[in-house]
């Protein structure tokens, strides 16, 4: 009787070759499983990238959605400038940009260059003010209340509906993306699991013989795990290349369109690494998870 070498040693090259052979001997099923996984990864990836770009644009929009805090007219410019520190102490306020009466007038006339009536206005009709940037849009109403309590602030302007609209869109996009990714992940795992289950069923006699001669469950399981792993990795590689092409095509289409002014897109060169990592991670998880689920029933001999 041979020793217990198989009990602990992991024969990588044997398992890998067996996994490869399994894949090759069931070409059509492997092709189907890989194609379906590529499809799922591509849909998952596309939705994630749309969600990432949407979040990016919404963040930019959120940052441009400033609160304007007006300073009491009775306060001197020096007193008004000194307010900056107080405003920055308010929770959720990340930046406070001081705008003097004169700067406010200048911005106003620049915004309305064709209105002669506005060209000779006295800066005294404006108030000194602060443009405040906030971190969390969801707390905007509370932050506005806190800013209003700062001595010297007489009025605060903000676009409540726009802020809540941005927050809602962002939250809905995140939930839809997460749900879709979750569903597609389960679907991919199920497809790979079913494919490996079919190949396992086809080899149940071999498995029974292996069990009866004393092969460990690990020894029987590993080739199937490698098979799932390989299918996942191949699917991830193909999906990544397709995603790259698709993203480039969409970016080019938007670049040659007026929509670019409304919607900015991250260049693929900045996101390829996380996309590649996520695809391979998801591909491997789906492949290995699928094979482990498939083989479990056949080991109960």
């Amino acid at each position: 009787m041979w020793g217990g070498a198989a009990m602990g040693k992991h024969d990588f090259s044997y398992f890998f070759q067996e996994g490869l052979k399994n894949m090759a001997s069931h070409r059509l099923m492997s092709f189907t499983a890989i194609s379906m996984t590529v499809g799922c990864l591509l849909i998952m990836g596309t939705f994630t990238l749309v969600a990432v770009n949407t979040a990016l644009n919404l963040s930019a929009l959120a940052n441009s959605n400033e609160i304007v805090a007006y300073v009491d007219e009775a306060w001197t410019p020096e007193q008004a400038r000194a307010l900056e520190k107080q405003l920055l102490k308010v929770p959720n306020v990340t930046a406070a940009r001081y705008i003097s009466k004169e700067e406010a007038l200048q911005a106003y006339t620049e915004q309305n260059p064709e209105e002669e009536l506005f060209q000779d206005l006295d800066p005294g009709i404006f108030r000194d003010r602060y443009a405040l940037t906030i971190e969390n849009l969801e707390q905007i109403a509370y932050t506005v209340g806190q800013v209003e309590r700062v001595p010297g602030v007489v009025k605060v302007n903000y676009y409540e509906e726009m802020a809540s609209g941005i927050v809602t869109v962002r939250n809905v996009a995140a939930i839809v993306s997460a749900a879709l990714i979750g569903v597609l992940f389960v679907v991919s795992t199920f497809i790979i699991s079913n494919t490996i289950r079919l190949t396992t069923y086809d080899r149940r006699e071999e498995i029974a013989i292996m069990k009866i001669v004393g092969a460990t469950n690990g020894f029987i399981r590993w080739p199937f795990v490698y098979e799932g792993f390989l299918m996942g990795v191949v699917a991830a590689g193909i999906a990544f290349l397709l995603q790259w092409g698709l993203y480039a095509a969409v970016t080019d289409a938007i670049a040659g369109n007026d929509a670019q002014r409304l919607f900015s897109i991250l260049p693929f060169s900045r996101i390829w690494a996380p996309v590649l990592g996520s695809f391979f991670g998801a591909g491997m998880a789906v492949g290995i998870g699928g094979s482990l689920t498939a083989i479990r029933r056949f080991l109960e001999v």
């Binding site: 041979w2 198989a6 009990m7 029974a208 009866i212 001669v213 004393g214």
Partner: protein, 230 residues
């Protein structure tokens, strides 16, 4: 050594397959296990290979207690056994050589051990020139010898042959039985489950007769028949 003590086995449907068997097979023995269909022979093979557990009693196989065995010890216990089936159970798409290397690989033998051991076993079974044949290309006798080669290749201390001559003609059956005797003479315990009365009588070995889940006769020599035997 194989030891069954007061073993009972009741299937889920209530069938009493074994009704209190006590039996000891010493190391190096050659034993025929005979009896009519439904007498419990196949159930005993399943008990010995750890495929099923007894409802009551103790089963000891080559130092492993089946009742207390841990899951991770079952493969180790099975490595002490070589099992031969009536329907050969060879993998048809693999060559004879690959059928043997496959089971050696399964228990962790190195490529060098495989390369050294398989030609010796094939030679023992007179299958030297059949190494690269696939099972469908072999005769029934050759397939059964290939199955025995597979059972022997991991050098087990016990060979269990379940109706090994069931698919062979009388001449091939005698040849096969001589081969099992030769294997036994080399020190391996051999348990042969069979219906073949003539064959059993011809070899003058220990015969354990089962009927309705009980041992009805246990002696060396000729079969002493039960009422339904044959």
């Amino acid at each position: 050594m194989i030891r069954l003590k007061d073993v009972e086995l009741v299937y889920e449907n209530g069938t009493k397959a074994i009704q209190g068997i006590t039996l000891t097979i010493e190391d190096g023995e050659f034993v025929f296990l005979v009896g009519p269909s439904g007498s419990g022979k196949s159930t005993i093979v399943k008990l010995l290979t750890g495929e099923i557990l007894p409802t009551f009693g103790r089963v000891m196989i080559n130092g492993f207690s089946i009742m207390n065995i841990k899951d991770r010890q079952i493969p180790l216990m099975r490595r002490t056994l070589g099992v031969v089936y009536q329907d050969f159970r060879l993998i048809e798409k693999k060559t004879v050589y690959d059928n043997l290397s496959f089971v050696m690989r399964a228990v962790g033998a190195s490529p060098r051990e495989i390369k050294e051991r398989i030609p010796r076993v094939l030679h023992l079974l007179d299958l030297d020139d059949k190494a690269q044949c696939r099972p469908p290309e072999l005769s029934g006798g050759e397939q059964q010898r290939a199955a025995i080669a597979r059972a022997l290749v991991n050098n087990p201390s016990t060979v269990i042959a379940d109706e090994p001559t069931g698919n062979l003609d009388p001449d091939r059956s005698v040849e096969l039985m001589r081969l099992l005797v030769k294997i036994n003479q080399m020190g391996t315990t051999v348990v042969v489950v069979t219906h073949a009365r003539e064959l059993v009588n011809r070899f003058g070995k220990r015969v354990v007769t089962l009927d309705e889940g009980l041992v009805t006769h246990d002696a060396v020599g000729r079969y002493v028949g039960g009422r339904r035997y044959g």
